[in-house]
Symmetry: C2
Subunit: 212 residues, 2 copies
DNA sequence: TTTGGAAATGAACATAGGTGAATTTATTTC
DNA sequence: GAAATAAATTCACCTATGTTCATTTCCAAA
């Protein structure tokens, strides 16, 4: 794959908790995650935290930086991250018509963000978790990182809480209820979804949504 | 201003409740709102609704359509809307470097959306309302539609509830509490903010945020 | 000017999810 | 493989917000 790396592109690594970008500091480069997970978030003054995006292998971090303004939220590695770094200004021969690549990725992330507005604004705890686990599984599968009904899920229950707008205690309670119903298996950073259709129904509640 | 309208651009009108776009039906054109308000939303199967974007005068509706995929959520007029309609594919000589125009507008809407994730995920009812009223006031002011500390706000309390992820009853309670504290005046579709700084502090809770 | 429907308000009660603190189980690290 | 640290789990109790339904106020249409 090395032969596909464009000029001005090089490999970089981050350790867990290391920043890929800090608030208000102009990003000079765009990353494409090769391996590992990262997240964007915002902290409130009293310590409340909300994760606003997750970056998985294959994702660009962060498409919006190409629109030419400094990151308004920090991005931090959740695991060891290996990424391709390239100059920030619309790299990658981004054509609006190509069904893949940068713009596709950007449109996907906009749509996911909009789906999360619905989930955070209107869904119950169990529906939120269903949405999250399903979305992550589908994204991992699209990158060829799912194996049957399973995939890696290197998030702590605290991370999950900060993504779903719940408390860690309630995430724990709710995951147990979901396990009891046979909706998910989740242990030691590994997710299995025994019944995809059931989880989809729970997450979407009848709306037509594709987690892409 | 008529002289500034590009070829292939023409004026269109919508009545309240009329659709500017429907779910999954490819938009053939992009609107720039001249007058009136519209919103994008999603309904769940049991009737819960979440508004995911508001379109005010000056806004493009909807930047994402230019990325070449059908709208995933309907857009409906909240008031009488007058808009400029132009062919959908990246109109407007959109240059990435211009500090205004299409891409600026797009980046703004991405950032607002991300701010709403934080608000819906982590903020209390009063903080949510403060965020909403402040954002709307600032946007109206930037379009020259605010007068001193006041501006039009043609939303019902039901609309506000569907934007903030609350119930109409609780919106009502909370607005009254805010009135009692002298934080806002809101009556007959008109908003006045006696103390901008106080409302900002309540909305942001110490995080550095600009509602742009 | 009336009138009919929408919007706002009010009040009593219910509950999903939050809080705080302790305990147990995993996971690193040396 | 023992110690140290982080993550998950449990429990008792609490509260912000939801629910239901009635009442009042506001407007727009005739």
């Amino acid at each position: 794959m090395l032969s596909q790396i464009a000029p001005n592109t090089n490999l970089v690594f981050f350790r867990p908790h290391e920043f890929l970008a800090r608030e208000n500091i102009m990003a000079d480069s765009l990353f494409q995650i090769q391996e590992g997970w990262a997240c964007r978030y915002r902290m409130l003054a009293d310590g409340r935290r909300q994760i606003t995006a997750l970056y998985l292998p294959g994702d660009y971090c962060e498409p919006q930086w190409a629109l030419g303004r400094p990151p308004s939220q920090p991005v931090v590695a959740l695991t060891i991250v290996r990424a391709l770094k390239s100059p920030c200004r619309l790299p990658l021969g981004a054509s609006l018509d190509s069904p893949h690549g940068f713009w596709k990725s950007f449109a996907d992330s906009c749509e996911r963000q909009s789906n999360w507005l619905v989930t955070l604004g209107r869904k119950t705890a169990m529906e939120r978790l269903a949405h999250l686990l399903l979305e992550l599984f589908e994204r991992m599968r699209q990158s060829g990182l799912a194996y049957g009904q399973q995939c890696a899920l290197p998030l702590t229950q605290l991370d999950i809480a900060d993504m779903t707008g719940l408390t860690p205690v309630h995430v724990n309670r709710t995951l147990q209820a979901m396990r009891a119903k046979g909706l998910v298996e989740l242990q030691s950073k590994w997710l299995r979804i025994p019944d995809l259709a059931a989880l989809r129904e729970l997450a979407a509640l009848g709306t037509v949504e594709t987690f892409a």
